[in-house]
């Protein structure tokens, strides 16, 4: 039976996704290792990690497509995969890219997916499909066969399928994968728009700047393990900023800074960066000038999520995938 409004009120928990000890093992390989994830309602939650770190496996478990080896997962306050019939109609999902029936038109693809939803009213099916097409800007191409769509159009049609009904949670797995910068911008602005309507968005990505631009919260995974999670601002604040000196005399600057106890010095072009010392920064600048270093710029740069990631894992982030 479709969930009634009574059910819905009871499910209004603070966290839309909660997992505890969620584990998926393939033979000896642990794809997901004791994951404890908490996604607060109303957040735009970035799920970050290099390709192959277990993000998609986690999402498949959350959506009831694969059975966890152990551990529990709750989505919208109900256990998954057991309560999938109640949970999934309230969730829109884009998992590992769009999958379409190439011989059907874009519109017919949406009608097909909508007919699989137990709570979707067949009487409003066409209207809702048109509205979803309009929302992702595909109205003009709605009659074209899906196999003639570009990757960006397919991605947008996949998003339209996730938007056929009003959703409480959108799970978007790498929604900008394979898109050109223009397409990426469009998707991101759509995500922001949806989030401002109150939909919780769970967005997986291997692109740090994407998470930083769009998300309010983030979790970081590598090799099946969750390294950290929390509000993006806090994660970035967790890493200290870097002292940056811009100067043509990089060699002298580095020497002076080292004498002043600045650690982890890196020279790149006309920039010398390092960990800020505990002393007054103005004194550091004065010392540089005194030593005859011509300073063009001096300051502390705010830490980015990437710095936070490097600080957490002790390794670079595989941005290119």
């Amino acid at each position: 039976m479709p969930s009634t409004s009574g059910d819905r009120a009871g499910d209004r928990t603070a966290d839309v996704i909660e997992t505890s000890g969620l584990t998926k093992r393939y033979g000896k390989h642990l794809a997901v290792d004791h994951l404890d994830l908490t996604v607060p309602r109303g957040s735009v939650f970035g799920f970050l990690g290099p390709n192959g770190s277990g993000k998609t496996t986690t999402i498949r478990m959350l959506m009831g497509l694969i059975e966890p080896t152990s551990g529990r997962a709750r989505v919208l306050g109900r256990p998954m995969p057991r309560d999938g019939r109640r949970v999934l109609p309230r969730v829109g999902a884009l998992i590992e890219g769009p999958a379409l029936y190439g011989f059907l038109s874009g519109r017919d693809n949406l009608l097909r997916y909508d007919s699989a939803d137990p709570t979707a009213d067949p009487r409003t099916r066409r209207t809702r499909a048109e509205a979803a097409l309009d929302r992702v800007g595909l109205t003009a191409a709605a009659g074209k066969k899906a196999k003639a769509y570009s990757l960006g159009m397919k991605q947008r049609l996949g998003l339209a399928a996730a938007l056929l009904q009003p959703r409480e949670l959108l799970v978007l797995d790498e929604p900008t994968n394979g898109l050109d910068p223009q397409g990426m911008r469009e998707i991101r602005s759509l995500v922001r728009e949806l989030a401002s309507d109150g939909t919780t968005v769970f967005l997986s990505s291997h692109l740090l700047d994407e998470i930083e631009q769009v998300c309010s919260h983030a979790a970081v995974m590598t090799r099946g393990r969750l390294i950290t999670q929390g509000p993006v601002a806090e994660l970035a604040a967790g890493a200290r900023g870097r002292l940056v000196v811009t100067t043509p005399d990089t060699g002298d600057a580095a020497r002076v800074l080292k004498e002043l106890g600045v650690a982890d010095l890196v020279i790149a072009d006309d920039r010398v960066t390092g960990e800020p010392p505990g002393t007054e920064l103005a004194d550091v600048n004065a010392a540089l000038v005194e030593a005859g270093v011509r300073v063009r710029g001096f300051g502390v740069e705010r830490a980015s999520l990437e710095d936070a990631f490097v600080a957490l894992t002790g390794e670079g982030f595989d941005v290119a995938g």
Partner: protein, 343 residues
């Protein structure tokens, strides 16, 4: 999730689905395959009535949805280019047989030297020149051993595996279609295809027969004569029995389809199994297993042309098809319900 809601055998699962979401669905796709193939058409029509809101409240919407998924499956099946190609091939068989018989007998001679059984070729072929209606029986006898089940094997084998390899399966399941319901809808639409495929052969044969040969009173195998109208009814009945004979292959194909993520592999395996079974059925030393092969009683449909009708083998055939539907339907359900969808 379907795993929780569906308990017991396939048949029981079907009944449960029917209880909550519409009796008609179980009729179309239930464990009793015999009824299945015959009621599919009328259920499809009933669905539109429900969708217009003739039922009451949420139950009507739910019923409309269950039939809506089935209708969606049905239209998907018949919009595939491959399905249409299969039907075209099936429609061409009676044309070939009819033209061949016409050319062979244009000098006034009879088929195969005029022996009582025609000496070879499909059943009833010797009578075609006297009565075009017999082309229906001949064409069904010619296509039932291979062409028809091959077409069913392709459609059934692709049902789950094809969606898995295209990735569309994951979106259907998160919609959420429900694994049991999706499987039932797939099986029901495969059975509908069995019926349509058989009727295409029969209709094509009737048209070609009427065009190339005289029509008239029909002589049964027992030697009695029945009117042309009665003959037509018998032909329709035979077509329905032939369609029902394919229930076992459909269930087998669907089960194979849940085993792999490659549509091509599932189709090839199903057709391979079909050929193997046909070969085993021809080896006398293996007669002990013959009664359990889904194809063993297929040609019993000819008994409908006796007067009175000889029912024994017909009933055995339908029972065997029901058994296959039950066994492989349950196996498909068990496998699909617990499967990790990783594509």
């Amino acid at each position: 999730m379907s795993r929780a809601e569906a308990a017991g055998s396939d048949g029981r699962a079907a009944a449960e689905a029917a209880g909550s979401d519409g009796r008609a669905a179980a009729e179309a796709a239930g464990s009793d395959g015999r009824a299945g193939a015959e009621t599919v058409g009328s259920d499809g029509r009933a669905a539109s009535g429900v969708a217009l809101g003739t039922g009451s409240g949420g139950r009507a919407v739910s019923l409309a949805w269950t039939l809506g998924l089935f209708r969606s499956e049905l239209s998907l099946t018949f919009r595939r280019w491959r399905t249409l190609a299969l039907l075209a091939v099936l429609a061409a068989v009676p044309v070939l047989v009819g033209v061949a018989v016409r050319i062979e007998t244009s000098d006034g001679g009879s088929i195969g030297g005029g022996g009582p059984d025609g000496g070879g070729g499909p059943a009833f072929i010797a009578q075609v020149t006297n009565n075009g209606l017999f082309l229906v029986f001949t064409a069904l006898a010619a296509t039932l051993p291979f062409f028809l089940p091959m077409a069913i094997g392709v459609v059934a084998g692709d049902a789950i595996a094809g969606e898995a390899s295209a990735g569309t399966l994951r979106y259907l399941l998160v919609a959420p279609a429900g694994r049991t319901r999706l499987l039932l809808a797939k099986y029901a639409s495969t059975l509908a295809f069995c019926l349509v495929a058989t009727l295409v052969v029969a209709a094509s044969a009737l048209a070609v027969g009427a065009l190339l040969f005289p029509l008239g009173e029909v002589t049964t195998i027992s030697g009695t004569r029945i009117s042309f109208t009665d003959g037509l009814l018998r032909a329709l009945l035979i077509a329905l029995v032939v369609a029902a004979s394919l229930i076992g292959v459909a269930a087998l194909g669907l089960f194979v389809s849940t085993l792999t993520n490659s549509g091509i592999a599932a189709m090839a395996t199903t057709v391979g199994l079909l050929i193997t079974v046909q070969i085993v059925d021809q080896i006398p030393q293996l007669h002990a297993v013959h009664p359990y092969l889904f194809s063993h009683y297929w040609l019993s449909f000819a008994d409908l042309m006796r007067e009175p009708v000889y029912w024994d083998d017909l009933v055995k055939n339908l029972g065997l098809q029901g058994l296959y539907a039950g066994v492989f339907g349950s196996a498909a359900w068990a496998r699909f319900g617990a499967k990790d969808i990783a594509t």
